[in-house]
Symmetry: D2
Subunit: 383 residues, 4 copies
């Protein structure tokens, strides 16, 4: 299995199972000279971590990240960054009825059939706990992007049949972290919260979706055809656990628009360069970024772990049985999915910044005069 | 730019521009011993080629494929298969107003900004003509899959606001090639055809979507997390020109389903192995195939090349101008997109068949006497 | 920088610097069902570790490996194996004269010029300490290979101008670990030891070479042309720190042999299959393994860290200065290089075993009753 | 088989067999804006092509290259460059005795055992004819490198036991193409020629070696550890057909040098930057280029196709037989190997120029007025 690596030049390689000893990832391709501390990473991990509210699982993971390599005196060295996050609160006992019987719509059966094993501890490698690695790596990507003027944000725009009205990028930044649902529209957030609690009380769970947007992306990112920006985002987002749909720009709605309606005319920007009048194209044309904001949406199905009774088939006894998935589970995924989607967006963009030569792969650009001989004494970290 | 390669073990590497001399691709990783002729490939190319009906572009390309290597005596040799398809009917004159001004919502601007060039001939590398390579490679993938009992099919299930009712896999196979729209529901196909002609008459174009399904996929394909089956399908399908959304299983609808509703209980199949009662999960669980049919949907926006007047910005003159995209263009993309979507599905699946060891990477298993004259007895695997 | 990954299907991704907190690597692509413990890995780490004799550095690293993931109940699960090895005895103080001046023929200057940093602690990422990761990963590869009947071994066959006579594979296995030099010819080992001590006493160091051999390699490994078995071994071995030459078969001697002399005639083996009469080709023909033993040689230059006075150029002061590299260093590299060369050989071979389908990428074949409690019956491959 | 691709960012993907219809390769990652014509490529192909002298095979291949894509108005467009070279003079009849019996020390047996086929036409994919693709791609790489001030050259420095004295880079450039042997030392070339003819007359063949050197390589190329510059060169050169050894810097001689002897002291260059006093390190330190010339050597064994009688084992008849390899073959490989070694050196270096950000991956910097009619003003990198 080679599915634990993402990125061409900014590469993230992960390991870890839900109830194993630790999660971890190695980031290769981060240029030298980026100021970076564990706190930078921790901030995003805290947004993803369990137990942060009533509508998340109560598993008690502090998710403290430890940087093992790649940093010297507070700056990256250009060499691989090794991160480890201990698992502290694994309690596998609760999965016992499902050791020899797959949980409905989980990865239990497919993993077992593939590997001939039964990693029953919280789903093992198939658990969404893996995304702690993505969020950690994504935090580094975000820091690099921010230096280049690229900002990105996601928020929850649908839970069940409750959809949030359109919000601006600024509203997303301002409001999405103010409530437990991570919806940037406060009134809708309240409704969503209520709906989630209803399902939670019933022992059920509910689906939803996440809207994402990136601003400041320069023209020219993307490697069509198979590695177009949309294709790579498609892979990145469809890798997010429980995702069943990825859309950018008009998404599924585009089926109903005519060419004339959807096409964005050209005008000139203040520098005299062509710029689209509108952005129905979602920031990507011909698979390459157009300079307009990139936006889209990801649908996440309802969590499969529910305390309601469900039928499973025990391959040891050969019997069908009704079981409840007892444990500490989220009644809904998008609120904790927001930092995960942001991470995958950041990882995709930073990789293309390197691939397009807009980011120096060896080291971030120094201030003029600061790096004036061939040699390095001018690097801030050595002064 | 490194976007011209797809696949990990079954690798397709493409070249070619819309109005260049030829298109071509190299397939690496096809096992030896597969019976293969140009006719096998041509059949699918003919389904994709222009000029096949009134609702496709009238560009006159025979799309004759020529196999340059990798075949001996009608069988693959296990070495790279080189394919070349000549471009015959390129007429770049028609693009003249847009040489120094980007066509609305095309890849003109982004390609030019990235590469500092203006490949004005039919969009150059950004043209959907590239997909002739994909369909050619996909035909080989389909042949390999068929040997393993994997069948796949796509059809057009939406044009504008006309949606086809659900059809069975058998209906797709039987009916989707019977009409120009490639919709497996004949009555809906008629309605779609009418709608397309309406937009065509207006000088406009319209969007739509394609439903795809694969049957006979064994349990265990997919390399979670970043290369889960859904992630790789996401990349494959989002690479298809004009795609704005990829869905599998319930797709965007999953947002509104509860866990209890969506979860598929387990029962036993006739061999005593667990099998899901339903297939709301779309054939993929935990990123790995479950043995159930894999199905999903791809949305394609309306063609951007329309004979209606649109505004563009000429960077040579610095003036805005109203221009029509004269040329030979499709009024709708899904009908010709069907073989493209099938090809990308086939390429994704065959790659995972190799990655999971279910297909021998060196050679397909020979039937005794079928290929034994050139066969070498010394490999223990064949004794 | 993306140089921290080796392998196509059996992938090793590493991190760590000489004086950082920890070394570590993630192994992806190890099939499920392999019995594996930390002890299996530790045995090879102990052969590589510092301080094991008078002719190795006295740095006191226990090199205890900790498995963080990928193992359940003593067997691999098919998911990524995360390994971490703490650095315990880093003393960077000794490098002070060289903080602003590069050590002669080290990687100090090139790393600094590339990354704009000065990772002065023991050479940082450029240190041979990195090979602790390779040996750890290699130990897992060896275990997999041994299951398939592939055995490999290396020994020191030259130090300075002292060359060992040819020894058999059995002699290598029996004698190479009996002496500190790791030369399988005991008398030569004594001479080598004496020579090394001489140079050590003078404050100098000396070069040497390592002979390696693999037996039981099946016919058919290698992916010509660019990934031929010889090309991949070339990359693997030239990555070993201090290597200046890689040879297989006749190596540099082949320049002087005629075709008739070097060509190996064919005869039949006991099964009636063609087999070469001799093995002057070194087990590889046309870039693919021939079934004969694979053998070759790697030359390692003398350690660059020597207590003799050498001239360096201080970029801070702009002055030339004479300095000695004080610290704990090896007077010769091949003795500790033996497990490193074996590891790279094993990693290369196991990757091709997977690529050629000879190893099942999902799981090793289980012995009945050996691992069946957690075993899932539904995979047709195991029935 | 996935061995037909070389390079990370500058990627070459090849196809073709000795006696198939055509050879071809696709180059991905060549920046836009490079002036390029078929003549640029042809010049190097002519240096490699058969029939150029009495000491090369008489096979009559013009090796005319045809560019199918990636060029517009004489400049690269940044999109994949498709090249095709027709095979004109394939005469497979001569191989008949070896259809069911492997030629000694060829790739016949290993290819057949791997793929279960017998591609008897001139060795099929295992033939050195493949290198026509490498030389074609290498010619483009050389053009890119020359723009950056990087020059490279190779010459034949040993045939049998005749070794050329050391020559300067300038001598290599001036003299190596003056004689059929491609040895830059004219007197030695004469001796070599004589020796080759001697072996040729006897119906035998002889080995030799090629020395290569690159000048003007900037500091900082290489991605240690597994993709160090030496490791990647190792792979590149060991992929060259018939190579049995790769050396850089002191090569195998390094075994006998002490640290003090081999270490290169530091002084200051005219810009006040540290620079090594000598270049015993071969231009690579810690796996990264030091700014000094990169030099090394490749050993090629004697051609295996000889008209002398040799024993083979016919697997159809089960009989041993004595056969001569009739055909048109080279009596020695290095003379035609010189452009091949240069190509692999160029491909390795250009890839690292892109990976290190020293070459803009999207386009080369344009000279003002040189390419500005098609030039798009909107990219900030060009303002």
């Amino acid at each position: 299995m080679n599915g634990n690596r993402f990125g061409r030049l900014f590469q993230v390689t992960t390991f870890g199972e839900s109830h194993g000893e630790a999660m971890g990832c190695t980031i290769s391709g981060c240029p030298a000279g980026l100021e970076l501390s564990e706190e930078d990473i921790q901030a995003d991990l805290d947004r993803r971590k369990p137990g942060q509210s009533m509508i998340t699982t109560s598993r008690g993971e502090p998710d403290d990240v430890s940087i093992k390599s790649g940093i010297q005196d507070g700056y990256t060295t250009g060499t691989p960054i090794g991160l480890v996050i201990q698992n502290k609160d694994a309690r596998s006992g609760k999965y016992e009825p499902f050791i020899t019987a797959p949980r409905p719509s989980h990865g239990d059966f497919t993993y077992s059939a593939k590997f001939g094993t039964r990693n029953w501890g919280g789903g093992g490698r198939s658990s969404a706990r893996e995304t702690v690695n993505w969020v950690a790596a994504g935090a580094i990507a975000k820091k690099l992007l921010a230096r280049e003027g690229i900002e990105l944000k996601a928020h929850v725009n649908q839970i069940g049949d409750i959809e949030a009205p359109e919000v601006s990028f600024e509203e997303m930044r301002e409001h999405s972290e103010e409530n437990d649902v991570r919806c940037a529209h406060p009134e809708t957030a309240d409704e969503m919260q209520e709906l989630i609690e209803e399902y939670q009380d019933e022992g059920d769970s509910i689906g939803g979706s996440i809207y994402f947007e990136a601003q400041g992306v320069p023209v020219g990112l993307g490697a069509p055809r198979f590695d177009s920006l949309s294709a790579r985002l498609g892979q990145a987002m469809m890798a997010v656990p429980a995702t069943t749909a990825f859309e950018f720009g008009l998404g599924t709605e585009a089926a109903e628009w005519t060419g004339k309606e959807r096409n964005d005319d050209w005008e000139f920007d203040s520098d005299g360069n062509p710029t689209p009048v509108e952005n129905d194209h979602g920031g990507i044309q011909g698979g390459i970024s157009s300079g307009e904001p990139i936006y889209g949406e990801v649908t996440l199905h309802a969590p499969t772990s529910i305390p309601k009774s469900q039928q499973t088939a025990d391959w040891e006894t050969g019997e069908l049985k009704e079981e409840k998935v007892i444990g500490r589970h989220d009644p809904v995924l998008p609120p904790r999915g927001v930092p995960v989607v942001e991470a995958m967006l950041a990882l995709t963009l930073v990789d293309f910044m390197l691939l397009s030569g807009r980011l120096n792969p060896d080291r971030v650009d120094n201030q003029p005069g600061e790096y004036d001989t061939d040699y390095h004494p001018s690097n801030p970290q050595n002064e």
